[in-house]
């Protein structure tokens, strides 16, 4: 069996069987805990973690098997498998979701003041209608308001666009959307380089705490409960190393339980803050896991917090994959679309999850899009006639 040890160029040398990449964000916690608590080892796999500098680097290294798998945005296995945003149409599969929710949209103090002066109704500020008025108000200025997201193929990007367009704001022409690494978001907001962002925690809570901005709405309020990060694996590697892949899933499943256990919070923060991992003060990470959030203009609904463990959270849901593909299509990333249902089912693999965790009865999903033809369904997506059920993707879609 090829152990893929010929990775000494361009990546960290490793004598281990499996190298997994991660981006130093709070939702990489299950990977770090599985390593630090010896959970990979207990499952009989020798895993090295490799801290990566960008999602692009994660994608490229998993594509060429320099990394066998990685902490990924849920959209990445789909985009990569379809060959959008990169040259190589290499199959990346996910059979385990590591986290759910945790995103929020925050605007700068200046923008908030302008929005407030246009319309001070609580609901209008949260729904984006005040933003629409603000945009109209400043339209004479010429330059567009700038919003940042973490990656073009991300829930943050699609949630922001969805929120804007529901308020009657055209995300393509009324604002400018750029990509900024999460760790730089607050600095950009403070300096006025951007006017708002959609990002995961702790960057919304910290902006509120430090008086840099106002968080308006959470991802939960836009889409309900939806997956956030996943374990993405090189499909060829996963096919040739089934047992190892199962072992990774089992170890991460245990790690997710550990992360969600409140009793472990202090130890978790200590481990994550280590220079090898997130390399920051432990206190900075607290908002990512704790039920206590800084009090701002608007509160976080309990459901909006990032969670890591339960069968509903961890089991891949092809319906969500289809939703993301629909978003890619809606926002011009996926021009030609066909066999999306196959892509969704193959890329978000429920079956492997059940086999790895020895769950007997795979959840039977209804036909993903009811009786619609794929092209019809995509038209509905484009026209914003399909939404995720307000409680979350677990409950399917609602048609307007």
């Amino acid at each position: 069996m090829d152990r893929f040890n010929n990775t000494s160029q361009g990546t960290k040398p490793s004598g281990a069987d499996i190298t997994l990449g991660f981006i130093p964000l709070i939702d990489s916690a299950p990977f770090i805990i599985a390593k630090e608590k010896g959970l990979f080892e207990k499952e009989g796999v020798d895993v090295v973690l490799s801290k990566e500098a960008s999602w692009a680097s994660i994608r490229d290294k998993v594509t060429f098997n320099l990394l066998q798998g990685a902490h990924m945005l849920a959209s990445m296995p789909l985009a990569t498998s379809l060959g959008i945003g990169s040259a190589n149409k290499v199959k990346i599969q996910t059979s385990f979701t590591v986290s759910q929710n945790g995103n929020g949209i925050t605007v700068s103090n200046n923008l908030y003041q302008l929005m407030y002066s246009c319309c001070d109704a609580f609901q209008a500020l949260r729904s984006g209608h005040a933003l629409k008025l603000a945009i109209r108000h400043r339209s004479a200025q010429g330059d567009l308001l700038k919003f940042a997201v973490v990656y073009p193929y991300s829930s943050h990007h699609y949630q922001l666009r969805d929120w804007l367009s529901r308020a009657g704001i055209d995300p393509d022409n009324d604002v400018q959307i750029i990509v900024v690494p999460p760790t730089k978001m607050m600095g950009y907001l403070r300096s006025g380089e951007i006017d708002g962002y959609c990002v995961g925690e702790p960057w919304n809570s910290l902006a509120v705490e430090q008086g840099i901005g106002h968080m308006l709405v959470t991802g939960y309020e836009i889409w309900g409960n939806t997956p956030e990060k996943v374990l993405g694996a090189n499909l060829q590697w996963a096919n040739e190393n089934e047992e190892e892949h199962y072992a990774l899933i089992r170890a991460l499943d245990k790690a997710c339980k550990w992360v969600d256990d409140e009793n472990n919070l202090e130890e978790l923060l200590n481990i994550l803050s280590h220079p090898d991992y997130l390399n920051c003060p432990a206190a900075q990470l607290r908002y990512g896991f704790s039920a206590i959030k800084p009090s701002g203009q608007f509160d976080w609904p309990m459901e909006a917090y990032q969670k890591f463990s339960s069968d509903k959270i961890n089991r891949p849901n092809p319906q969500y994959a289809l939703w993301l593909l629909g978003q890619m299509h809606r926002w011009h990333q996926l021009p030609v679309a066909s066999s999306l249902i196959n892509v969704a089912n193959n890329t978000f693999n429920d079956d492997i999850y059940c086999r790895a965790l020895r769950i007997d009865h795979p959840r039977k999903l209804k036909p993903l899009i009811g009786s619609y033809e794929e092209s019809e369904w995509l038209d509905l997506i484009k026209a914003d006639k399909v939404r995720v059920h307000p409680k979350g993707i677990e409950f399917g879609f609602v048609y307007l």
Partner: protein, 202 residues
Amino acid sequence: MHSKTSQLPLTVMLVDNEPARAAIVEQALLDNGYKVIRRLENTQNLTRAVQESLPDMVIIDIESPDRDMLENMSQLTRNNPRPIVMFAEENESTSMEAAIRAGVSAYVVDGMQPNRFKPILQVAIARFREFQALRLELETIKTQLEDRKLIDKAKGLIMKHQGCDEAAAYKALRKLAMDRSQRMSEVALNVISVMNLMGEVE
């Protein structure tokens, strides 16, 4: 299909926070007759720089945290006539793999013929590899220097403890190393730790 414009030399932007490597790559590209329009060591204004310079190709260190920013540009600039995308040709996967293994990532203007950018990529890959080898060599030299320091220190301790001269101390160390089939530096380290235990080191 060769239009007139396709005969113009490609313009390349280099983004690398490793100034030495950037200089090597730039020189190699110039030597091969390519044009480097801009070399960025600081990616603060990467987006603006790309918009201003409109390069045909961007070569960037795979470990740069700013790649995600760059990847968004093809989306951002939908109305821009020169969007930047990863190689569009699927059959380029071998050269892509070589690039990624060497730590090079590259972006080209959509629709560009692979035969135009491939030689440039080849040059970059070669220089990145060369640089990698150089760095490895430097590390080896650094280790050797540290080894020598250890050996000198152990020699000094033996001379003091045994009241012997340098040559005798060196001979003793070498004999130990040969007997145990260990490296001189390992033996030196052992000697230093033992002396340390015995309180011989300050």
